[in-house]
Subunit: 221 residues, 2 copies
DNA sequence: GCAAAAGTGTTTACGGTACACCCATGC
DNA sequence: GCATGGGTGTACCGTAAACACTTTTGC
C-alpha cells in the first residue's frame, strides 16, 4: 500500500508546476516520478504522505488533500500495489527549498505544460490532480495556498488565469474577489522589481472565510 | 485491502435510502454495515465492488463512482485495513430486488434520515457519500440513475427536493430542466395510482447530454 | 362536484460581462 | 517623458427567483 503526492507550486515566471523526483532504484530507475512510497504500520495515510514528501524532497506540505486511489492490477510491475494519491499546494516562498534524498536522485519542478515522461501510471495521476485543482479553485479558496502570505492582487489574477488557461478581466475579477470580503488589504506595498507601479499587498483572511462559509456564502469565481 | 459501497436508492414514499447488510460474523456480528469486502488478486477495485455487491445483496450496481479511501490505523479492530469506498446509484425499479447471502445475514434499505448504528467507521463513510451525492447532483445529471428509465417529472422534482432537503419551485425547476434539452418526452402517461391528474413520462437522453457537454453546456440546478 | 396532483408564464431583481482610462514608479 | 504594470467604474443583458391559477383524473 503506497501513497503518492502531486505537489503543485506557482511562480510568476514559470506558472503552475509539479514537483517530480528522479528515481534512484528500479523499476523505472532514473525515470521521473511522483514523490511517494509505502505506508508504514500504524501511520495514517496523510502522515505517510507528509513523511515521504519531507524525506524525498525536503518539502513540508501545508495543504494536503486526498485525490483518488489507483489500484489497477499491473500498475506496478513488481507486485499488486494500491496507491492512494494526494495533491498538495505549496506557497510560492517555499518554491525553491528542495533537497533530494532517500530514494530520490534528484528533485525538480516541472511546469504543467512541459512534463517529462513519467514512471508507472503517474501521468494519469497528475492529469487527475490538475483536473481536480482546476475545478476546485473555482469554488474553494485554495488558490491562496499557492501564493505567499501576502501577495499583490495581480499575482492572484495571474494564478487563476494560468490555472484556468484563459484570460481574465482584471476589473471584474477584482470586483468579485473583493466583494467576497475575504481579502484584507495590508499597509505594505510590494517593493517594485523593476518597472511599473508598486502593488498593494493583500492577505487571505481564513477566519473570515470560514465565518462567512458558515453563514451560507459561497465562493465562486 | 477492502472495498465498501454506499448504495443509494430512491422511492417516492421512503425518499433516499442506503443499502445495509447485517453482519454474519465478528467483529460487529449482527451489526449493520456497508456491503463490501476484501479485494481479490488481479481484480480491479471497481470489479471488487461489483462482485461484493452482487454476492452480499443481489444488486447489480449500475452507476459506480469512487468516493474516498479510509485508512486510519485502528478503523478495523482486527488488523490494518485500507478501505476504498465507492458509492452506487440504483434505479427505483430495482429497489426491491434484494437477497442476502455470503457474509450478510440480512439486507435492508434505510432512509438516510433514519440510519441504525453502523459497524467500523461506516457512519463516516455514509456521511461522506451523502455529502458527495448532494453536491454532485447539482452539477451532474446523476439524479436520473436513481429513477426509472421513464419517470414523471414530479418524481425528479421530489428527488431533488429530498436530496437537497429544501422545497423546490415546481415551475422554475421544470423551466430550467427542460431548457437544458436533455429530457425526451415519451408518448406514455403514467397509469394514475389513485388520485390526481396522470403525468407524462420523460426519459433522460444521455447521448444528447454528452453531446451538449462537449459543446460546453453546463448542467447546473 | 370536490379533492388531489400535474401542468403552465410573467415580472422583477441581481449578478455576470463587456469595456478604457488614469496612476505610480524606474530608467 | 516614456514605458511598464497597477488600479479603478459603469452600462447592459441574461438568468435566477418569486409568484397562482387551470387542467385532468378518481371517488
Amino acid at each position: 500500500m503506497a501513497v503518492d503526492a502531486v505537489v503543485f507550486g506557482y511562480a510568476k515566471t514559470e506558472g503552475v508546476s509539479v514537483l517530480l523526483i528522479r528515481r534512484k532504484y528500479a523499476p523505472f530507475q532514473e525515470g521521473w516520478a511522483l514523490p511517494g512510497g509505502f505506508l508504514h504500520d500504524d501511520e495514517s495515510l496523510e502522515a505517510a504522505v507528509r513523511r515521504e514528501l519531507e524525506e524525498e524532497t525536503g518539502i513540508r506540505a501545508p495543504y494536503l488533500e486526498q485525490l483518488y486511489t489507483f489500484g489497477d492490477p499491473g500498475r506496478d510491475p513488481r507486485q499488486r500495489v494500491l496507491s492512494v494519491a494526494y495533491f498538495a499546494l505549496v506557497k510560492s516562498s517555499r518554491f525553491q527549498e528542495l533537497k533530494a534524498s532517500t530514494d530520490a536522485a534528484d528533485v525538480q519542478w516541472f511546469p504543467i505544460g512541459a512534463l517529462p515522461k513519467l514512471a508507472f501510471d503517474h501521468k494519469e495521476i497528475v492529469s487527475a490532480a490538475i483536473a481536480r485543482v482546476r475545478a476546485k479553485i473555482r469554488y474553494q479558496p485554495i488558490g491562496f495556498e499557492l501564493l505567499d502570505k501576502t501577495f499583490p492582487f495581480a499575482d492572484l489574477e495571474r494564478l487563476y488565469s494560468a490555472l484556468l488557461d484563459r484570460p481574465i478581466d482584471r476589473r471584474n475579477f477584482a470586483k468579485k474577489m473583493l466583494a467576497l470580503g475575504i481579502l484584507d488589504e495590508t499597509q505594505e506595498v510590494a517593493k517594485s522589481e523593476g518597472k511599473g507601479r508598486p502593488s498593494k499587498l493583500f492577505r487571505f483572511n481564513k477566519k473570515r472565510y470560514e465565518q462567512l462559509q458558515k453563514e451560507g456564502m459561497n465562493f465562486e469565481i
